[in-house]
Symmetry: D2
Subunit: 337 residues, 4 copies
Amino acid sequence: MHAYEIQAGFGLDKLVRVERPDPVPGPMQVRVRVKATSLNSRDLMMVEGRYNPRQKLPLIPNSDAAGVVDAVGPGVTRVKSGDRVMGLFSQAWSAGEPNRAAQVSTLGGPLDGALADTVLLHEDGAVPTPAYLSDEEAATLPCAAVTAWSALVTHGALKAGDTVLLQGTGGVSIFALQIARMTGARIIITSSRDDKLARARSLGAHETINYVTTPDWDKAARALTGGMGVDHVVEVGGAGTFEKSLRAVRPGGTVSVIGVLSGGAGAVPLTSILMQNLRVQGIFVGHRQGFEALNRAFTQHQVRPVVDRVFAFDEARAAFEHLKSGAHFGKVVIRVV
Amino acid sequence: MHAYEIQAGFGLDKLVRVERPDPVPGPMQVRVRVKATSLNSRDLMMVEGRYNPRQKLPLIPNSDAAGVVDAVGPGVTRVKSGDRVMGLFSQAWSAGEPNRAAQVSTLGGPLDGALADTVLLHEDGAVPTPAYLSDEEAATLPCAAVTAWSALVTHGALKAGDTVLLQGTGGVSIFALQIARMTGARIIITSSRDDKLARARSLGAHETINYVTTPDWDKAARALTGGMGVDHVVEVGGAGTFEKSLRAVRPGGTVSVIGVLSGGAGAVPLTSILMQNLRVQGIFVGHRQGFEALNRAFTQHQVRPVVDRVFAFDEARAAFEHLKSGAHFGKVVIRVV
Amino acid sequence: MHAYEIQAGFGLDKLVRVERPDPVPGPMQVRVRVKATSLNSRDLMMVEGRYNPRQKLPLIPNSDAAGVVDAVGPGVTRVKSGDRVMGLFSQAWSAGEPNRAAQVSTLGGPLDGALADTVLLHEDGAVPTPAYLSDEEAATLPCAAVTAWSALVTHGALKAGDTVLLQGTGGVSIFALQIARMTGARIIITSSRDDKLARARSLGAHETINYVTTPDWDKAARALTGGMGVDHVVEVGGAGTFEKSLRAVRPGGTVSVIGVLSGGAGAVPLTSILMQNLRVQGIFVGHRQGFEALNRAFTQHQVRPVVDRVFAFDEARAAFEHLKSGAHFGKVVIRVV
Amino acid sequence: MHAYEIQAGFGLDKLVRVERPDPVPGPMQVRVRVKATSLNSRDLMMVEGRYNPRQKLPLIPNSDAAGVVDAVGPGVTRVKSGDRVMGLFSQAWSAGEPNRAAQVSTLGGPLDGALADTVLLHEDGAVPTPAYLSDEEAATLPCAAVTAWSALVTHGALKAGDTVLLQGTGGVSIFALQIARMTGARIIITSSRDDKLARARSLGAHETINYVTTPDWDKAARALTGGMGVDHVVEVGGAGTFEKSLRAVRPGGTVSVIGVLSGGAGAVPLTSILMQNLRVQGIFVGHRQGFEALNRAFTQHQVRPVVDRVFAFDEARAAFEHLKSGAHFGKVVIRVV
């Protein structure tokens, strides 16, 4: 099999192409020929050593896989050779509460990931690909779309008429836009670029805020709700935006913490959380039952994931650089074969 | 009526005794002759100008009232003269989600509070006192006990066998101990003093940690759960303890933010919230339906609130000084008449 | 004031027009000049003596009111003269769990209702009318739309991609269709008439079943879900349809009981409820917080209630006869002034 | 291996002892040497052909197993030889919503069950036995205790101070008593025999009703709540008791349907469900995550399952006859080896 490895140390320049022998699926495992993978901030941080500096190497990075089963191990009954599947981020998280097993069974670290033409999955960690999606599209779902679903639906119980505030136009935010749209919520979205805001509007955003020209985007969002505050913020910025997110939300509202783009730690006004009766919910992607519900909803609405750009397998580093530049809108994909 | 006012500026030394004309209850209002009031951190912060520096003065402080109805305004049907009642902290919060009206109808600021022999309540904000409780005991419930109930039951859905970590032995923590005990949870509690820990154990705590001799109380708590982490932390410390609280809790667990004794803002590791799928829930006391449920539970179990010390009305400042010293265990009460 | 009364006994022919002195709003009450009222099965059953044979007479029937405040009693702050409002079915149910007070404060029995040009409401029971709605449209919301909202959203937590099965094209079912549509669910609806099914489809239903030509509509609905069963059934038929509803729903699914058109008691297969892990949820309209959430959602989506036909105040009996005939699609309204 | 089979037809007299070759665990399977099994109504109905007349034969009955792992198949990591385990009723239900796979992976039909000295389990369907329990005690948990937990905790969210009504003193009811007791609820229990009621009281029941001498036990239960109605009824009787259960419960309360001892179908007053806003929740045992939570709670409280009587493996028919007689209190157990 062909793969990229983080091998002798961290850094995009340390990402090297390797050949490994084809793996043989063990009991309840399936071998998937990867057609496409997509990039998440987590993958970039992993390669650069910022996600888990103690990660054992070599590691094949990337959490998102879409492909076709070509061999199954003993006992497998859920899928069969020829099935199109996507990888479940936490291979051992079927439903309900997360636990330690869920945390340590994640693709792209500690388990080998999908920046390769072959990956081994547990049969419970191989989710059927909706027929209407291409592999490139399917490869965008396992982390970003499931995270947005967990935030808004599983934990957020978003309902029609609620107002949701989205930050930027990266993968999770755009999926959150599409999910909020399906759900009948009102959508406010921020970006540093008006062209991205215009595109978000064409996807269904109701209100847009350029946070460069309107640095007090929290007040602007609040004003758009008649001063009440939004019901839900999907926080991707981390330390640099969290305090404003707390100011944008209504009493009793929710801030989902799904990313830490601008830093993982910062001064947090606990007093606001207390006095506004807020809920701050960390989202570690999600479980299989949520992924399946997402697929039903996307299929029902024939939602097309927004693929920013598709890179060739040879261009893996360029793909990461593109993600890092922040120029993208939606998901960055690598076509594997 | 007799009362204390924050009058010409903030500070315990500015708290002055005044006489006011007896108020006449308006529509749906009841006049309560206050028998006892208890002190909360919020009350101390309010008097000292740290809670809301823009609070309009004069203000009668104190959120907790227990007494007897002696006059009712037009339209009142829920209570009648002679009824023993307690004040609901948010006079306008019956049930469900909080809103702006709930936030601005709180006793002891912005509304006049209970450090007085008379207070006006909305009839919906006058909750019947359980018959088995004295007025001094009843006066401890409206903020501290309702907060602990909201944290553990309304929002926390605590169940038998769960492990809860409590910080210190102040009013909310001791009520949380009593509620967790009723609910069948396992209780770990911290304090700086072994005598307080011994007393907590006599009230039903299963495990105790002296955080002076064991500064890594987060690790100690985690070790007591076999390394899994506790299900729920009731966070009263604020910035000084929050980071450790996040380390003590299990994946998917909850940290209730109910106090900020050691500071209202600090560096918060958002990455932990995200990767552990944690829920951080701010608790702004609670609604009437929760208060009534608490009263049913306390009555069923004949729970006796832990009254640390009862001060006379003349000793109001001394009572606040006692609270401020941190020497108390449970609730500090002022007997009004 | 002008009104209709059930006076000397039950029956549509006993409904008589009367004059009463204009009521004066008491504390916290508002007087509303009714512009329109709509009819529910409950109203018909009440007039015919089938809802509560022990209801004290005389009674002004009808639960649904839309109109304009023209006088307010002492203490009123939430609304003012000139405000357009709708009546809350349970005048005393703000949020959270229902209780006895909620059950006995319902308009159109035991409280006097809205088949009159004037009605007294509690200020908490007067909900602002969304500006985009006419009074005739607004008069359709308080019972039927709130019931559908409570069933699908408050209790049902319906999410995008779920499949919901609706029975017939009466008021609640059509509102349920509109709410399910906003929420991104897949909608299957039944009727005895193909023209009604076509109209339902034009409103957004995805699948239709004529239960006359397809008497095994439960199997047909199940087949439409690939044999899995639907997620939610809004049961309006009662005894005549309940057993089939249980067969149409998936393991772990929900049947909301909101009507008993074909009878209030019948053989119920408890074994199915048990073995399919089903939830059967009775819906007694809903609380104010739900009504307000509904209004936000309807306003956001500019949902137009489906008014079947508007009768004049003089034609009240004819309006009831029309409802009784079952010929309607959506809501039957009476224009009062 | 030794086993009993339902072989040539249904009926207790058709239950025959057989020898089968020892099974070999497949991928992810474990082989358990059964030490004890307990009897449930379901098992009796299965043997008599009343549970599923189309069940394929031969079948080894009994859903409850406790024993020791003595061989593991390829890929097994959760348990190892020598581990004490209990069988999970639905071998394929880890957490979250039930589905078809959960329904068809149940021990004692359609899968072979535990009336044998050996049983094959999926590794996810083998739950560690709490160390403080004997095998006879552990064998009582998988169906009856998990059902009671699912009813009261998972679905019921029972809290301290709630009132729960239990019917009779069979396995589920006594576990419900013990769980409700841990949880701080108030317990009302019915029986036809005063000696059983006395024993229930010694286990922690607060109120008892002899339904022979007090046939209107619903009214008696309601009276014990001051007329409000109980919060939760655990319905084991089925058609013969369901209507009274609906009358005993408060507005907004819950009736868990867990058994149908007196019949599986009967006239159900849907109108009551509707007008009282009731929730009727079917309980099909429960998932692994619930079973684990139960074990934590039982261990924390060192709850001892109530074993009515232990029969020898040779006495299997007598054990079933004893269960059928209704003379038992708590669980009937068969010691296998």
